[in-house]
Symmetry: C2
Subunit: 291 residues, 2 copies
């Protein structure tokens, strides 16, 4: 249930080149305005499961894009059923066709599969344990070209057309026949980053193995430990369970959220979770995490 300070689920992953939307609970479009998200740059939307707090904001967002004259396509990745909901809604409720292509990509949330790939990321599903079919998402950066050392390129007078090969890892053959090893010409690229978005789910041991070494793990923590029975019953996690997953996965950072609306004060979440995993942070509406 939303409260004025804690709306339902939505996150964006912004690489400065692309903006990806993960879940889209009611009010997401207004929250994106509140927090100055570049909402018109979004191209792909990933929906974890068909509970309303994860997608009821979608019809409104699509409508606002239509009113703004959007023409760029929108791709929606979700478990089965969402297309029928959105199609029924727009067929009965709207006087116009959407002015942009809307493409649905259905995945089976019980399988570990790659569902999307672009220049930056490979996105795959993480089967979760919830009351309805649900998948988290793993964003893995793809290998990038090496970084050229400009001074060395100049010193050897390497011609422009040889640069792509060097960036890809090739040594360079000088006109005098001498071989310049790639390591002398390039710096290794930044380490490839991983981000995992895992909500809603009960404690799942497999999950930790699938997200080994993740840089940032977002994991739901609906309840405090005292409510562990209710967590199990409703397909949710306690904060200690979220922390245990982060620990087992060797995560660099854990962000928690999806707190039950029964909790106003969240500091107990911090205390309980950090006993197990100190690099835990409380997620909150409008939080920005740089990594």
């Amino acid at each position: 249930m939303p409260t004025p300070l804690r709306y339902t689920s939505a996150q964006v992953l912004d690489t400065s080149r692309q903006v990806y939307l993960l879940d889209c609970g009611e009010g997401t479009q207004v929250r994106m305005q509140n927090f100055q998200v570049r909402m018109h740059a979004i191209r792909q939307i990933f929906i974890t499961h068909l509970h309303g707090d994860h997608f009821f904001g979608l019809p409104g967002l699509l409508t606002s894009w239509a009113l703004a004259g959007r023409q760029k396509p929108v791709d929606i990745f979700s478990p089965p059923g969402l297309e029928e909901i959105i199609d029924t809604t727009f067929r009965l409720a709207s006087s116009h066709e959407l002015p942009f292509p809307l493409n649905f990509h259905v995945f089976d949330p019980d399988q570990r599969v790659v569902i999307f790939e672009d220049d930056t990321f490979i996105v795959s599903t993480l089967p979760l344990l919830h009351r309805v079919p649900t998948a988290g998402f793993l964003f893995e950066e793809k290998p990038r070209p090496k970084n050229i050392i400009a001074d060395q390129i100049a010193a050897y007078q390497i011609p422009f057309e040889d640069i792509p090969g060097i960036k890809a890892g090739a040594d360079w053959q000088a006109p005098d026949g001498k071989t310049i090893p790639n390591e002398a010409l390039t710096l290794p690229p930044e380490p490839l980053k991983k981000f995992a978005y895992c909500t809603d789910t009960a404690y799942s041991e497999s999950l930790a193995s699938w997200i080994q070494g993740v840089d940032v793990l977002y994991h739901e923590a609906t309840f405090l430990e005292q409510e562990w029975a209710r967590a199990a019953e409703t397909g949710h996690s306690t904060v200690r369970q979220a922390a245990a997953i982060a620990l087992a996965a060797g995560a660099k950072k854990l962000i928690i959220g999806h707190y039950s609306s029964r909790y106003r004060d969240l500091w107990a979440f911090l205390a309980e979770g950090r006993e197990i995993f100190p690099r835990l942070e409380l997620g909150y509406d409008g939080m920005q995490v740089h990594f």
Copy 2:
């Protein structure tokens, strides 16, 4: 399009005995929390038309009521199509049945008909001129019993069982055969009040005739006069047109709203509208009107 200060359409009419919801745009449930509306007391929901800014908040509100364990029925009055949208959404998206009865009452928005009646109000439709079938709503208070003058009842020693007849307007026959006229025993009830909710609509002369003497008229004013052509084209009104309706209807008060998101500063609406109808007020999120 919603903005952080101006969410999409929703109003409540609160009589202290009942709370009625008129339209339910995205985010209505959070706005009701923001403004401390007694949302759990709502029994009837009236939807003007099937554009998203008037009903996309409905699935979320129904879900929150379900999570709160609501058992009281909900009655939704709307043009055709809404039931299929809501049914499709809950069939595909929810793991549970709603724990309360949800009754749909479909009306033809092109007809002037009574759609609801309870102890307090008769509610009828007001056919409007929009791009899709749309009706406003007229709430008319029903005649109430007269108010007893307690001192007079005591002075004449009128027995308890005669009170209902006197409240209904009867004279009283004293044991000595003398007739006490009703006017000596009662005060007239407060005048019956009328409220009209009219959105979305182009200028409609018929409307003014249907709401003669209305106490409070809410009428949309999407545009300033400068945009009159765009108003006509999109099935909306300028503020001058809204004011002209209020004047022709002899309204006691006009509240305007549904401003296009292109306008940030609304004072021009006040100036343009009050030239025609001085008892105009700017509607805003969270406004309370007592009457």
